[in-house]
Symmetry: C2
Subunit: 243 residues, 2 copies
């Protein structure tokens, strides 16, 4: 069933009114008809099964048939802190990270970043990518997309426990870290992934001094955009959230 995140005030009791882009999608792209069903989400973790009643390009009216807590939200809240990457790579991380189950994206600038902070229109594009991926993959909440911060801010502010993935780490691997306190049984954690050129050792030492675990992803060097998705998949698998 087609899913749409909509503003909370479009739902009133068991009536739903959709406008703007969702109304356009329903009428002109999907060409749905009265009595077809859709799912709407108000970003409160609930989802509503709606039967369409009257449709026009500007206004679609429907009736709520059922309401349930969305089953698509992982129990573990993961913040993916990702150094800025070239446009297509960063968008890939947003799309795939949302499908896999990220609860917040924190873009940041690291010493070796070659990409500048995004324009407002780029940020709107990012939000759209996240929303479409959340709708398609069956999420119940939209991942939060934070403003771009500095590496020092990530180290200071991000949720603990936190892991920074570093291709030059040789002592501790992701598995060692996840099997021990404070990671076992945690309800939230942060993953920190560097830019295309990797983290310089100074940044890694700084993170370690702020109580962030540093881990390797094994013997193959993953590209920056692959590292986050592999880490997410591994962690979600480890906690029983990926199959």
């Amino acid at each position: 069933m087609n899913r749409f995140f909509i503003p909370k005030d479009w739902i009133s009791g068991d009536s739903v009114q959709l406008r703007d882009e969702p109304a356009h999608q329903i009428c002109h792209v999907l060409r749905l008809k009265p009595s077809d069903h859709i799912t709407v989400l108000d970003n409160t973790a609930w989802e509503y099964e709606v039967e369409l009643e009257t449709l026009s390009a500007n206004n679609v009216y429907g009736k709520v048939l059922k309401k349930r807590l969305s089953p698509g939200e992982p129990q573990l809240k993961i913040a993916l802190c990702q150094a800025l990457l070239k446009a297509d790579k960063f968008e890939l991380v947003l799309q795939k990270g949302t499908e896999l189950g990220v609860s917040a994206f924190v873009p940041f600038i690291s010493e070796r970043c070659v990409v500048k902070s995004p324009t407002q229109s780029k940020v709107r594009r990012w939000q759209k990518i996240v929303q479409e991926a959340a709708e398609q993959s069956g999420r119940g909440l939209l991942p939060t997309l934070h403003l771009v911060v500095s590496f020092a801010e990530v180290c200071r502010l991000t949720d603990r426990p936190a892991i920074l993935l570093w291709e030059e780490e040789t002592d501790r691997c992701l598995r060692d870290i996840l099997c021990h306190s404070p990671f076992t049984g945690t309800k939230s954690l942060s993953i920190i992934i560097g830019p295309e050129g990797g983290f310089p050792i100074m940044e890694v030492k700084y993170a370690a001094s702020k109580n962030i675990a540093v881990a390797s992803l094994g013997r193959r060097v993953l590209r920056a955009e692959t590292a986050g998705l592999a880490t997410l998949s591994a962690i979600l698998y480890a906690v029983g959230e990926l199959g």
Copy 2:
């Protein structure tokens, strides 16, 4: 250190001669000089550290300093059988799958595939993507890229044990399957992933009748190109090959 897969007969005793694309890369793109070091690989799982001696655009000569078994090969051999996808998605699977550690790609045609078999020039492009990703990520062997086959051929010929990932499966998840015979301790396995539109139930039943396990990836619906990468990451993590 820069890595190059080269034909085996370019290495003779402790002398190496590079031609064609690798020689061009070394001279004109990387602008390496005599006494710089590179790593060459002959696709036998060995890697050779080479000191460059004389360089021209057509011929680069060097001397082997050290030879060792490449540490970048996973112990577990995974064949990723992937239904054909639109060009950019399939190329993403090849690139990321190679980085993560796939040993063979088996492209196949499923009932809901909307993409035709690739042209020869497309296959050459795919091989180049695989080789570049193998060089960049530190693989010791090039993943094999098989010819396109039918779904029935995948079910008949692919290495066992094998898992087909299906978004409509509700009984068994990937984790259940990996924890039990014949998957525990296996040295090789196959993953089968459908096209954008998913597998029809008839194909899933056919696979099950051929002793292929059917598994879910959990409560979120992953896109076709995400499913393989998430499955690979989860399996490699489970066997200690991803950090």
